[in-house]
Amino acid sequence: MQLSREDLLRAYRSMCTIRQFEERVHAEFATGDIPGFVHLYAGEEASAVGVCMNLGARDSIASTHRGHGHCIAKGCDVAGMMAEIYGRKSGLCAGKGGSMHIADLDLGMLGANGIVGGGAPLACGAALTAKTLKTGAVAVAFGGDGASNQGTTAEAMNLASVWRLPVVFVLEDNGYAESTASAWSIGGDPLVRAEGFGIPGVRVDGHDFFAVHDAARDAIARARDGGGPSFLHLKLARYFGHFEGDGMTYRAADEVAKLRAERDCLTLFRRRVEEARLLDPAALDAVEAEVAALIEDATRGAKAAPMPAPADLLTDVYVSY
């Protein structure tokens, strides 16, 4: 661990922002004000932040349907994200994308993705751009345990290996593809699959920010140095359902409560930095308070923001037509 005090504060702020953003969306969704499908990332914060702390704006990530955490970790504007989720014109995608398609190409955030397994080939494309134009950039493909069984993921990993692309595949194994347990749905071992493509991989405790950060740092450095693709298998958990409204009847009754009490990535982070006297509790409390104000502003702003105009229906289909 070689993170400065500023890095640690930034990491905590980012993880807190994701957590509070998702808790707020969860609460607001229950009121019926948020349209459509929402898939929340709470519980998995150490993954998005641990990985993206090692990336810059020129680096790209391809995300998933559970994409809010990746967006925030990559630097997307939280007010713009909340407005997007509410379908407002001021949203990051002008209200045309919604929760499942939040993107900010200027930040290298290539989009959440409504298609499970849709992102891995796109990340290979971003890595191909970096390699062809010799920009030194790296791409990260986030995907869940569901996506790990899609053909696109296997094809992307093989292509990355064959073309020696600067890409890192991050498998966020939260235990469930929708309602189906990954222990059942993944035949064999994802690490062995990666090895089969000639891609080195490691399994990491996805609740442990520091473990994720260090593994991602090594994989991203390897990609940047021309060493080709790597694979991270993160074991973690989501606190909410596959989608908001999912009763989670497939989970054990005390499962989430136990996870929150014993394996929460923010709690583990706080304990670690406080015990090592890297950050004092007051500084961490201050971050939480700042984030709470930010989320409150974003939510109020989103609710008050205007909807798209009727004419917006027909724009942005083509550059020219």
């Binding site: 995608c93 209200g95 900010d104 290979c124 751009t129 292509l159 942005d316």
Partner: protein
């Protein structure tokens, strides 16, 4: 200006654009060929030789052979287009879209809209289509109506070597995803093709024949057959306009409407399967917007609603031909009222 084949015309367009813009790359299965194999480099230049010579000219970094992995490399091409390259991806046969359609219609086609207008996806997907090659059901289809259906995609169907070069250069310079359809029976057709680069516009139909009695709209390889039918009908006193729309998305429906209003009769020739194809689409738009101008029912010339058969005896029955177009034209001429003076 020199006589060049359709194959040469496409090759020349790509080569000239690659020389002009270092962001243009080519990728696909056997696009150079022989990757990792002990024999010749550039062994194939694509399965029918269309990209032959590009790899020696531009190197392996810009002419990328791929494994047989259409979801993987078509998706990678979409991602590369989103991040600054201008890829030309070769989906060898359009029939293979079944294994990569998600990357085209859910990803590349929708980036711009889903992301609130901020994305550009300058991607060209070249693909072979069409029957007549004895290639049977999985290598002979005309699936351009499926792509035309998807907002966000542009669909180009060149009918000749001259058209192919100008439309390919336009496709490469376009900032939207373009599906470029190459009929495999056209590759050896020759035409006068200028040596210098030029573009032809999308959404602007080309009139290959001008007449007064009947309008024929035809696409791709069918344009040649429609021209021949028009010439023969002309010899029999029926004067035909032939419209090649060039692109089905955007579609120059205004020119079609204008010509239908002038002639009062319409035949649409489409090699695609007859349900929900371009013939039905064009006919519906004409019926909706120029019904009063029609002097006879619209006639559609399309194959039967069957897979493309293998046996030459059956495939030759399947594909629309000049006789069928002439028959449709005669039926259209025989029906309905006389043209007002």
């Amino acid at each position: 200006m020199a006589r060049k084949s359709f194959r040469q015309a496409v090759n020349e367009a790509i080569s000239q654009e690659m020389a002009r813009d270092p962001r243009v790359i080519v990728m696909g299965e056997d696009i150079a060929g022989g990757m990792g194999a002990p024999g010749e480099d550039d062994a194939w230049g694509g399965p029918l030789g269309v990209t032959k010579g590009l790899m020696p000219q531009f190197g392996r970094e810009r002419v990328l052979d791929t494994p047989i992995t259409e979801s993987g490399f078509i998706g990678a091409a979409a991602g590369a287009a989103l991040t600054g390259l201008r890829p030309i991806a070769d989906l060898m046969f359009v029939d293979f879209m079944g294994v990569c359609f998600d990357q085209i219609f859910n990803q590349a086609a929708k980036f711009k809209y889903m992301f609130g207008g901020k994305a550009r996806t300058p991607l060209v997907i070249r693909t072979m289509y069409g029957a007549g090659f004895r290639a049977a059901s999985q290598h002979s289809q005309c699936l351009y109506p499926l792509f035309t259906h998807v907002p966000g995609l542009k669909v180009v169907i060149p009918s000749s070597p001259y058209e192919a070069k100008g439309l390919m250069i336009a496709a490469i310079r376009d900032d939207d995803p373009v599906i470029f359809f190459e009929h495999k029976m056209l590759y050896d057709v020759e035409d006068e093709v200028p040596d210098e680069p030029y573009t032809l516009p999308f959404g602007e139909a080309n009139l290959t024949r001008e007449g007064e009695d009947l309008t024929i709209v035809a696409l791709g390889r069918m344009v040649t057959l429609a021209n021949e039918a028009a010439d023969r009908l002309g010899g029999q006193g029926i004067s035909c306009t032939v419209i090649d729309p060039r692109t089905t998305s955007p579609l120059d429906i205004e020119t079609i409407l204008e010509e239908v209003r002038a002639t009062g009769r319409l035949v649409v020739v489409d090699e695609a399967s007859p349900r929900c194809n371009m013939a039905t689409d064009i006919s519906a738009q004409v019926a909706e917007r120029a019904f009063e101008a029609l002097r006879a029912p619209i006639r559609m010339v399309s194959p039967p609603h069957t897979p493309v058969p293998f046996s030459p005896a059956l495939e030759d029955l399947y594909v629309p031909d000049v006789e069928k177009i002439i028959q449709a034209a005669r039926t259209a001429m025989a029906a309905g009222g006389r043209k007002a003076a």
